[in-house]
């Protein structure tokens, strides 16, 4: 059960430790259903921390985003830990970062928050389009309770939860230094229904589907920027020399970009759904990611972000990998 008191006390204690630089958690946002990340350097700031069905943001992203300002000669880099609050999916992002050395285990303190599922912000904003005041939310008896301006309303989880949460098999952190409350029950089963639906179409229909979606892409790169696994200093997909793809916005370049992005995430995507959440033009990016997730699972019996000691899928092979497609 979510216990905010416990959460804040734990945060105070952790951030007071000498070896912790700061703590990343969630806080109320400035309007509507949006919440903000909370970067906390002192225990006094703990009261702002929250954990609610609105905490969709995957904070693991910030682990790789920390700006590395030049350090004056003679000064030592600050190697203290960053504490980060993680849901089940977020913890998998941290694990995958550890696999890829994007994050150093000695420099991170993982605070696990078992999670009953977060809302799909797009679904809910569609339901309540004009809510400007900051909204609070909580889990209660398997339902999601929203404290709207007109009073509290309760929704069944199927109605408001994000798709990734409805099929989530890892609601509990797979790796944590401390877990704040009891583990929650695993309710999700992944059947890949939407992926299979597309697979059932013929090539032309599939392309028509994707062309429709991808032609909307404005190449804002939000999907890449928010992704906890996309942490290259200099993204090849935006690089000019060599030019893998033009920056111009059209179906050809957009498709190449989305293919490349999805391919780079094959065997690495941990299904936090952030890319799809932030997409301003509603491209169902998780369908691409989950298609590959499915194939990786079926063909290579591999799931990323579960074991920090595992070998990255794309940097390993088995001599008996499938090759039915080879002439």
């Amino acid at each position: 059960m979510v216990d905010l008191e416990k959460l804040r006390n734990a945060a105070k204690e952790i951030v007071s430790q000498d070896d912790v630089k700061y703590l990343i958690g969630w806080r109320d946002g400035t309007f509507g259903f949006r919440i903000s990340p909370h970067f906390m350097e002192s225990p006094e700031e703990a009261d702002k921390l929250i954990f609610s069905p609105l905490c969709t943001n995957n904070l693991a992203t910030y682990l790789t985003m920390a700006e590395k300002l030049p350090i004056p000669r003679g000064e030592e880099p600050d190697r203290r830990k960053v504490a980060v609050m993680v849901k089940g999916c977020d913890s998998r992002a941290v694990v995958q970062q550890l696999v890829e050395q994007g994050t150093n285990r000695e420099e991170v303190y993982i605070i696990g928050c078992p999670c009953e599922g977060v809302v799909d912000i797009k679904k809910i904003e569609k339901k309540f389009p004009d809510v400007l005041e900051s909204v609070e939310a909580r889990w209660e008896n398997g339902q999601i309770v929203l404290k709207l301006p007109g009073g509290e309303q309760s929704f069944p989880r199927e109605e408001v939860l994000a798709q990734k949460c409805l099929t989530c098999r890892y609601p509990n952190p797979v790796l944590a230094d401390t877990v704040l409350w009891d583990e929650v029950e695993v309710l999700g089963v992944e059947e890949y229904e939407d992926v299979k639906e597309l697979e059932g179409m013929d090539s032309k229909e599939r392309w028509a589907y994707w062309q429709d979606k991808i032609s909307n892409c404005i190449r804002c790169y939000s999907c890449r920027n928010v992704c906890p696994m996309c942490y290259c200093e200099d993204c090849v997909l935006e690089r000019l020399n060599p030019t893998w793809m033009f920056r111009s916005v059209n179906v050809a370049e957009n498709t190449a970009y989305q293919l490349a992005r999805a391919f780079h995430l094959a065997g690495r995507c941990i299904e936090c759904g952030e890319c799809e959440r932030v997409c301003p033009v509603d491209i169902p990016l998780m369908k691409l990611n989950r298609k590959l997730y499915k194939e990786v699972q079926e063909d290579f019996q591999f799931e990323p972000g579960l074991d920090p000691e595992s070998k990255p899928l794309q940097a390993s092979y088995r001599p008996d990998d499938k090759e039915d497609f080879i002439l």
Binding site: P70, Q101, Y231, E233, D234, W244, P312
Partner: protein, 667 residues
Amino acid sequence: MNNNKPKIGVYVCHCGVNIAKTVDIEAVRSYAESLPYVKVARNYSYMCSDPGQLLIKEDIAEEGLNRIVVASCSPRMHELTFRKTLAEGGLNPYYLEMANIREQCSWVHEDSEEATSKARKLVAAAVAKARLLEPLEEKEVEVEPATLIIGGGIAGIQAALDIAGAGFKVYVVEKTPSVGGKMSQLDKTFPTLDCSACILTPKMVDVASHPNIELLTYSQVEDVQGYVGNFEVKVRKKARYVDIDKCTGCGICAQECRLAGRIPSEYEAGIGKRGAIYLPFPQAVPAKFTIDPESCLYLTRGKCGKEPKCVEHCSLGAIDFEQQDEFVEFKVGAIIVATGYDVFDASRKPEYGYQDYDNVLTSLELERLVSASGPTGGEIVLGKGEEAFVPKEVAFIQCVGSRDASCGNEYCSRVCCMYTAKLAHLIKEKVPDSNVRVYYMDVRAFGKGFEEFYDRVRREGVRYIRGNPSEVFKRDGKLVVKAEDTLTAKPLEDEVDMVVLSVGLEPRKDTREIIDLLRLSQSSDRFYLEAHPKLAPVDTATDGVYLAGCAQGPKDIPDTVAQAKGAASSALILLASGKVNIQAQISVVNEATCRGCGYCVEICPYGAIEMGEVNRFGHIVSVAKVNEALCKGCGACVAGCFSGSIQQKSFKDRQILPQIAVLGVVK
């Protein structure tokens, strides 16, 4: 700098008529001239000839060219030639790009228009890449002045003696207890009828006694790491259970062994017997006994009478059942693979009844039967005791396991025709009233003195019947060869006393292990693949690894010796020069963009990449670092790098992407 702005010279080769016949050379040349950055475009009948190369060198000097595109044959053929040309012309050799308009264009397309337009495309792609080429530096590494030879047959022996004779250290690793190989089992050699042992044994002794040769018999190569000039080798010396230093080779142990004369002897091709402790053959080198762990009673059951007889009778106390396998490690600069061949297993052709009938022999068994050192002392006698008899009617069946797709061997084994002639001659010599016939498909007597010898044998009364027997069966106690004389179209049922199957040569069963160890390839006949069938027949795709003898394909003794000497010479070039150039087209890391994920480290098959630290504005970050001596330039890391931070020189993304563009766009 002069090299900043590309000035490309394009040279289109006619290759006599090889290219010019289907490709409109002038069309390609004038098209090339129109391409961006192309300063000069010329054609010439043979670019690889001296005048052709001179053309390039002159243009470099006079036109200030700084990139060269040669449109001719495969780069696998002449890339090195033209790199040298560039170097001689004062240009970095890696400013060369080739367009393969022969093997992959003029030779495979009949339509002149199609071939010409493809040639144009290929030239345009080469130009697109050429303008982005970068100068590379070839680095040198020292060569360890030693050679490993795998296999102690005549090929290994000859190569070892040559290299050792030139003053370099040689390690010979032989799997069996003695050197000598298959040649030691032969009685006489064709066509000269020299005694095989007489010419081989002195060389075996030389190998053992040569100060530069370290002989590791009853040993196997376990692991090979490193690269040309610097291989690190690990060898397992299998336990002989006999202390080599104490054993004098007196042989009392073998006489006393409880299993003496009960184990089929490998050396005698199974027709003679040995004990569990044995010397493979009397002239074995080293003349030290070995206990066969698979048959020895003490080693298999832990008990051999009250006390093993060998222990009891060895006055020197050389028997040591506690002996363990030992490992030796050493460094070498070159490796010669001389692992030889396996004899075709005749039971894979069940129609010839090898497994069913005692008097169906393989040629190697007959070889032992006619040998004076064999189990019968050289008398051709079949059967035992009272049943013993001298076969009078003898039939040879040729091409058993050769030229036969049904058993997977389409190749000719090259030696069977002549050893059959030799064996037939020996039978006629020892049993003058015998009738010998040879069932054959073709007689291939191609070598020096071969045809003469074949003629001689026929004059001696050996009958050659053209026809491939379909079956060997038994009727009234006699063997019957069923065949058709295809010259007279007459079906035959030939009653004989003895059938000899002229079995072919096959790749060793452990070929795969050596391939994995040394990164070699197989040709379609499953023997080791040479670097080039004509011009590099002893080299392999792995630098510093050479082939000798039947490991590369069936050969007779003179050819084997010649190839062994060739392999020795190749190894010696390396050892004598003391230095070797390492790959220039290796991977290089852009440390500024490397995100330190370590994928490349995991991917690299050579362990050539490791993580190192760099200081990025005071922050210590880990990035990939390439060990240039270990990198072989495959580029597997490049395709696995998400940030494009590791690139392979000459095959960078920025060099390949324009090629793709050209091939996509140019019509």
